[in-house]
Symmetry: C2
DNA sequence: GATTCGAAAG
DNA sequence: CTTTCGAATC
């Protein structure tokens, strides 16, 4: 089973790029982020015709919006957190496919340190971690994936010295990310590529893609048991080089 | 010599459609309307590379904006009216090519009867007519062309009964247009196609193009001496059927 | 730099 | 329906 995550940054604009990539990569399950559209605008038909007839969508106008699409049934699906008050922002979609519990995430950006939005980012992560223990333990096959908006280690940023203490690479974000991993998750890509510096996001500005000034902020975080079954992790750089690309690229894992 | 008029409704959006059409139709001189861009955004280089190195541009942000581009030199060029106060709206470009005085027009729409904008439309026409006598008489080769925003006769609208008294087909507009012709201009297309009902503009709304619910509002108006030299008048419907078309089509005349 | 929205215009 | 703009967000 191939599972993917892809922050499309507007599904309206990126629909063809997504469909072309689905055709190429043939994932079985895909978590999508930043749909930037209401549920009723979700191109359910076109995506079903591409083979993904099982769809869990939590859309939102303008900002956020997540979905899980699958060739095989999605069980026990939920949108948002099940514990605590309803999150107004559409950032989480949950479901179980072939016995793997998948949490598709669009973690808050945080915008700026010492703002409400940064506080919301940390709170959101705390709630995500709490959510993991609802119905599963770290002995189960659990996958947390998506745009996590945190660059975890020195090889997840271009220049660690320049990034130190800044948004996406701040100690408070690292603590948060480490706590998530400490629950019992393994960074599937990094565990197989300990030293590589391959990013998943490049700003649209400053010719960042051509200068490879990016971040690795899109992750596949698997429990140990699940990680052992993963036979491949691929970051698909191709779609970033197309016309009118998303600023993120898709990431896939293959599960034996 | 082939002379064209084309209201592109945003040269930014229509640049490729324009270049493709120039390649196809090979006009020598083209009057463009609704550039919707400032002078500094005009794609002077791309248009020069297409063979039109002589350019007179009067751009404007958001609304209006006109240009005359030519393969051969444009003499005695002017933007706007030479008589009276400067018009704030970029609606007129003048120049002489191969002895033919050309006035490229984007006449005001008028928006609604009994508004300032409708009054401005009539005033603008009065000023245009006054302009004709500056340096020329009706015995010279003069061409008034462009988006005139008036449907002159019953065959210039789909249903004359429905259009009667409405904007674009109002008696005040017909009087104005008739006065312009009375100065000594002939509608080159209509003089050769007395009964045809072929439009130059179709609203983007209501599937108007497919239902042929259009207007003929883009004209080539020539003095009698010039009209006699015209060997062909063509309204190019093709570009309206492309993806992301202008709502207007180009019109050309061939001058012997 | 790219996206969304709503307003204004045609 | 299409376009432009300015504000907001990332």
């Amino acid at each position: 089973m191939r599972v993917a995550t892809f922050n499309v940054n507007s599904l309206r604009v990126r629909q063809q790029i997504l469909l072309d990539w689905l055709e190429e990569a043939q994932p079985d399950v895909v978590c999508l982020q930043e749909l930037k559209m209401k549920d009723e605008k979700f191109p359910a038909k076109a995506i079903a015709e591409a083979g993904y007839e099982h769809q869990v969508v939590w859309g939102q106008a303008t900002y956020n919006g997540v979905a899980m699409i699958s060739k095989t049934p999605i069980e026990n699906s939920h949108t948002g957190f099940r514990v605590g008050p309803k999150d107004k922002q559409a950032r989480l979609v949950q479901g179980t496919v072939n016995g793997v519990r998948i949490l598709g995430c669009y973690a808050p950006n945080g915008t700026k340190l010492s703002t409400d939005k940064f506080a919301y980012k940390l709170t959101w992560y705390a709630r995500l971690m709490r959510e993991l223990s609802v119905g599963t333990t770290n002995a189960d096959d659990v996958l947390v994936c998506g745009d996590m908006n945190i660059a975890h280690t020195a090889n997840d940023v271009k220049n660690p010295n320049e990034s130190a203490g800044r948004l996406h690479y701040h100690p408070l974000e690292h603590d948060t990310f480490n706590r998530l991993l400490a629950w019992g998750l393994v960074d599937a890509y990094r565990s197989r590529n300990p030293k590589s510096k391959d990013f998943t996001w490049w700003d649209y500005r400053m010719d960042a893609f051509n200068r490879d000034m990016g971040l690795r902020i899109d992750y596949m975080l698997a429990t140990e048991s699940l990680n052992k079954r993963i036979t491949d992790v691929t970051q698909w750089k191709g779609p970033r080089a197309l016309e009118k690309p998303s600023d993120h690229i898709p990431v896939t894992i293959d599960i034996a």
